[in-house]
């Protein structure tokens, strides 16, 4: 009797366990589907996937959190610049083309490319007639002048405005402009030598520059120069109700839950040669749980993430499943990932202590966490391969066997800086996603030579603005190291290095020159870069700047980022905008 009961019980337990196990493991298999037509791995890197003229439908997109700002003059996140194309247009724009073809600005709101005269110091450009905002008002040349003028206000911070500031106004020796912006000085305007630097005549704008700037077309393609109607401008709160000049407008915006864009009825395709929207609505939802987003994309409930790729478990799923791999892309981006070594925090003020970290770091381990060879290309120098004049093979601090670090050289540098047994240093990081593991890997690598790390966690919302973006806070909290990424604001050595390496770019908040680098050699090269019009001279200067930055041992690069994206198979007209960071160009995407 007992034996039979026992056996039956055993069998039922076995069956139950089997069912549960099958359910748990089967969940991973359920995402397999038939191979999507017209899609291949890396299809969106080199071409446009599923080109189609069909319009209609709603894109369902995800991001970890809100953009730093929707105000076109106040955003600095790479993916937010791509999203700006949804609802803003500028005089020039990057074409909707993959690869290098999408990296040279073409006319958008302008009738043609600008004309340069007077040794490159006078720029003339004409606005197209009859382009309209989402309010129905006509876009005027005065609106573009106003958009640039408001960047001089202290309410409009956080965007790449510094390129224009001293180009169009008289700055003092500390780089501070005289013009204070239209809110404080409504009857004033930016002036050079007492004369207005932005002159509007009908639909024509004339810019008078303080010095020639060979990348000025790239500046005109930035959302910083997108038109803003003065009567709708509310200064620091404009981000909550941006007036659209592009094919979509804001229907709703909530800083914690997301954005919904719908078509701007006053935009017409006839007047827009750059973008070809297909969807009628775009839903962007925020979810701080990156794993949940990855799973939603795998099960085709979310089309793609706008702010970066999927994490390693999803990558593994894609590599093992051909139909998912076919709807994935793995571009090399414009971003270099590196450790900022704060030279103002002891004992990092001694260059040999800094170099000890350069040799002790384990670049291979850090890359493994970011996805291995799918996550990045190991780097020995800062300047990204997408920058003209770069040399990706330059490595002044050899990485050791397997790029896991050169501990002998590290110990020699420790001895040279008087800390043969190592020292203590704080690491600033945000513990979400991979941030915590990157910290642990860094900690483990440096511990090999006795450099012990303390954990200083920040939050994503303020990390770049006031945590490591404030030189005073770095000193106060003794933040010694921070793992960060950086991409050129536009494809040139000046666009790559100006904000992070020029002494005159150090800001009290929102600072990108985290280490407060102020090397006269570098300052001089950068200050004279844009006045040089010869491409070959610029390439030589780019190399010199890069070598000097590396010699100063403040920025320790470990990889050029690659992103692994997975997207759904129902998308059409999908490609990656390479010049702006290899994100999907959402404004053009459609659904079947």
């Amino acid at each position: 009797m007992t034996k039979t009961r026992g056996l039956r019980a055993l069998v039922s337990v076995g069956v139950a366990t089997g069912v549960i196990a099958a359910g748990l493991f089967g969940a991973g298999v359920a995402t397999a589907s038939t191979r999507p037509a017209g899609m291949t791995f890396n299809g969106a890197v080199t071409g446009v996937e599923n080109p189609s003229a069909k319009t209609g439908g709603t894109l369902k997109l995800a991001a970890i959190g809100d953009c730093d700002s929707w105000d076109p003059a106040r955003t600095y996140y790479g993916y937010c610049w791509v999203l700006q194309r949804i609802f803003t247009r500028s005089l020039l724009a990057y074409p909707s083309k993959p690869g290098v073809a999408g990296a040279v600005p073409v006319p958008d709101l302008a009738t043609g490319l600008p004309k340069y005269t007077n040794g490159g110091k006078t720029v003339t450009i004409t606005l197209k007639k009859g382009q309209k905002y989402s309010t129905g008002a006509v876009i005027t040349a005065g609106d573009i002048k106003y958009a640039i003028e408001r960047t001089y206000s202290d309410q409009i911070t956080g965007g790449p405005v510094s390129y224009l500031t001293c180009l169009l106004d008289t700055c003092d020796k500390n780089g501070l402009a005289q013009y204070q912006g239209p809110y404080k000085q409504p009857s004033n305007q930016p002036k050079l030598g007492g004369k207005p630097s932005i002159v509007v005549s009908g639909n024509t704008l004339t810019f008078h520059l303080a010095s020639p700037f060979s990348d000025f077309n790239n500046l005109l393609a930035m959302s910083v120069t997108a038109p803003v109607p003065a009567k709708n401008d509310t200064g620091a709160t404009y981000t909550n109700h941006v007036v659209s000049s592009g094919p979509f407008e804001f229907k709703s915006y909530n800083a914690t839950t997301g954005v919904v864009w719908v078509r701007n009825p006053f935009w017409s395709q006839a007047g827009d040669p750059v973008v070809h929207p297909h969807a009628t609505e775009i839903d962007l939802n925020y979810n701080s749980d990156a794993t949940a987003t990855d799973n939603a994309i795998l099960s085709s409930q979310v089309d793609y993430s706008v702010d970066g790729g999927q994490q390693t478990p999803a990558l593994l799923t894609a590599l093992g499943n051909p139909s998912i791999k076919a709807r994935s892309d793995n571009p090399v981006t414009i971003f270099t990932r590196y450790v900022a070594v704060m030279q103002k925090v002891a004992p990092l003020n001694n260059i040999h202590c800094r170099k000890a970290i350069f040799y002790a770091i384990n670049k291979y381990a850090l890359r493994v966490i970011r996805g291995g060879s799918y996550g990045g290309q190991l780097a020995g120098t800062m300047m990204n391969p997408s920058v003209p004049g770069s040399n990706a093979n330059y490595n002044p601090y050899p990485d050791g066997a397997g790029s896991q670090g050169n501990l002998v050289a590290a110990k020699a540098e420790l001895a040279a800086c008087g800390q043969p047994n190592g020292f203590y240093v704080n690491v600033a990081y945000v513990p979400t996603g991979r941030g915590l593991k990157i910290y642990e890997a860094l900690q483990s690598a440096l511990a090999r030579v006795g450099i012990h790390t303390g954990s200083k966690q920040g939050v994503a919302a303020t990390f770049y603005s006031t945590f490591i973006g404030s030189p005073a806070n770095i000193l106060k909290q003794k933040l010694g190291l921070a793992v960060v990424g950086w991409g050129a604001d536009f494809p040139s050595a000046y666009g790559f290095y100006q904000s992070i390496a020029n002494g005159n770019a150090i800001l009290p908040a929102g600072n990108s020159n985290y280490v407060s680098l102020n090397d006269p050699k570098i300052n001089k090269l950068l200050d004279s870069f844009e006045a040089t019009s010869s491409a070959s001279t610029q390439a030589k200067m780019a190399s010199q700047i890069d070598h000097q930055v590396m010699a100063d041992a403040v920025y320790l690069p470990f990889q050029f980022d690659k992103t692994f994206y997975i997207h759904t198979s129902r998308l059409t007209n999908l490609y990656l905008q390479a010049a702006l960071g290899s994100y999907y160009d959402t404004v053009n995407a459609g659904v079947q």
Binding site: F25, T312, L316, I369, Q404, K437, S444, K456
Partner: protein, 319 residues
Amino acid sequence: MMKSAAATAQAVADAPVKGRSLWAIAWGRLRRDKVAMASLIFIILLTLAAIFAPLITKWMGVDPTSQDLNVLGDIGFPKGPWGGVSWKHILGVEPQLGRDIFARLLYGARISLGISLSATVISVVLGVLFGITAGFFGGWIDAVISRFLDVMLAFPVLLFAIAVLVIISNIPHAPNYFRIVLLILIIGVFSFAYPARIIRGQTISLREREFVEASTSLGAGTSRILFSELLPNLAAPILVYATLIIPVNIIFEATLSFLGVGVQPPTPSWGGMLADASTVFQADPFYLVVPAVALFVTVLAFNLLGDGVRDAFDPKSTR
């Protein structure tokens, strides 16, 4: 022949009968309980392993922080089956970081056992203090303490613990040991109400006994009665409930670590390992199985031991 048998019988009749104390009787019963003994042996071995974790891991050539990247594939998952199990890494390695799981399990045991045992000591000390006071004095003292215990029992402990620990995270210079002390205090303070009630009940039933009356009539003061008469008789229930509170506290600490508010990485903890492993479960299931089994077996061992101890002191108590 007859002489030795008679002599033996006489020897047996003459030998005095030795009385055995409660502890000796209980220990005798416990020794015969195979399940409880097995649990006790496991707990002793685990505690020794936790205490000698640095020596054991050094002898095996592993440690909880070094990364062994050669065992990981290109995108960070262990190359072999079973999560990278090998002679060197007997429980495999962590994905992406390549740290030895066995070493992290042992060091994590220090955290789990250390924090929960310390918290249990606090819990028992507070429980005895409040329980004896409420039970012995009665009246308004009992009323006040009992209501206080009711509040403690009704408190949303997990929410409170999370809130306090998140606030601690935001203090710029708080070191890890400060966090550990706070964890011990929170867990200890929020679990003393249960033993306090038990002790109070036991005290109430004991204070009416004759030996207390005898002590009072001999002129013994309150504190002498409490500490010399009542406390020794409460030792049995105190021991039983202490053993049963420990697994509750282990789970509590593991929950806090799982939620990310316990000890901070890279300090290994079983809850932290569970949290990390659950994100890569489909790619490397063994990484989840190891801390889950460790936690399950440890909690089970303490529970079985607690049951065994309770049975040893009072075999008539019903389950």
